[in-house]
């Protein structure tokens, strides 16, 4: 017989994500509308619905390694089409924060070329720093 119950550490991970995002992740039934609508899905290694499935399975290490959470631009397209009312943008933010709150930074402002830096609007720089640094 196959045992599909989750270990306690996996349950803890799911509970942490649900708390941080304020979303009931286990509601997802994998309809895929989030991925179908995502404007940046082409660049993601895990599709948004797969990210949700990984979280449901408590695959913390695997899901935190995906590039999806950093490609997501929080446009809320997925959130408004979810038939189960999961605000997926908040799930993505929770996953980013699990990494960023360990003091890991995902962007280095010094790597932006001077001429590009001068041309970028502040809203782009501030938003980027808000999403990629802690």
């Amino acid at each position: 017989m196959v045992d599909i119950t989750l270990d306690q550490d996996k349950k803890d991970f799911i509970a942490e994500i649900e708390k941080l995002s304020g979303q009931k992740i286990m509601r997802c039934y994998q309809c895929g509308r989030c991925s179908a609508g995502c404007p940046l899905a082409d660049y993601m290694d895990l599709l948004p619905n797969q990210v949700i499935k990984y979280v449901q399975l408590g695959l913390d290490k695997e899901v935190l390694e995906c590039n999806t959470i950093w490609v997501c631009a929080a446009c809320y397209r997925c959130s408004v089409v979810c038939p189960k009312d999961i605000d997926i943008a908040r799930l993505m933010e929770a996953l980013r924060l699990l990494i960023l709150r360990d003091d890991i930074e995902k962007m280095d402002i010094n790597k932006i070329k001077k001429e590009e830096y001068a041309e970028l609007p502040q809203i782009a720089l501030v938003a980027s720093m808000r999403k990629y640094t802690s």
Partner: protein, 298 residues
Amino acid sequence: MEIAYYPGCTLRTSAKNFESSSIAVADHLGITFKELSQWNCCGTVYSLASDDLMKHLAPVRVLIRAQEDNKENGLDNKLVTLCSMCYNTVKMANHLVKNDEEKLDTINQFMDEEPDYEADVNVLHFLQLLDEIGIDRIKENTKKSLEVLNLACYYGCYLLRPEEASIDEEPEAPSIMERIMEAAGARTIDYPFKNECCGSYLTVTEKKYTAERTYKIISSVVNRGADAIVLSCPLCAFNLDRRQKQAKELHANMKSIPIFYFPQLLGLAFGINSNELGFNMHYVDPRPLLKEKRLIKR
């Protein structure tokens, strides 16, 4: 009529023409934008974490300034914004504290150097204000019809999502910008990307993604016969205008089109001097199109 106004950072740098044209258009319609006596960056993105109130302090501080200024100036308790990102961040933070007394209380206690926020400011986007003032007023003020222009109105994300922030009753099929541009005589097209993301801040670290988005959006509107895009977000404007350079490197056949802030074209329709409208600040120069359509002389 006077209304409290929050500019936000980008309107003082890359989107100066958005501000100057908005103020000129508002002025023309008898609305005076009264800039907040003090303001700070709103943080540009609304925090999506359920446990972190710190990130909401900046927009709430802006709201407190609006509340206090409005009291002092005897104005209706409203705040108008231009930048879509500021609009969304301030609007959503306002929504949060209006509906969560405990969080409002925590924020007020933390910012004990400020007066308490009473959660009573009404945050508006300039498009809503124009719609409120009335399509008829825009029609009456239109001296030079924009009928020669076929426009694609681009909303992006933050004027429409989340639902609580939407400036249109139908966030999935918005028409507020079309109504306003059509009142000034313009023709508008319908197309599938008007409420889809431009790639947003990924333009900083992943230029290619925003260039591809730009290519998709622009090809779509060009195929449907648009002469130009009109929008309201300085980040969408940057991506759809400046990133045409990278988009062209990836897709040599892409046709370039100008990207306008909506008040720039309303200003032309109202007969406002084009010097105030900042057509010199674009990457894709809009002046050849405007000359060809006889909307400007030189």
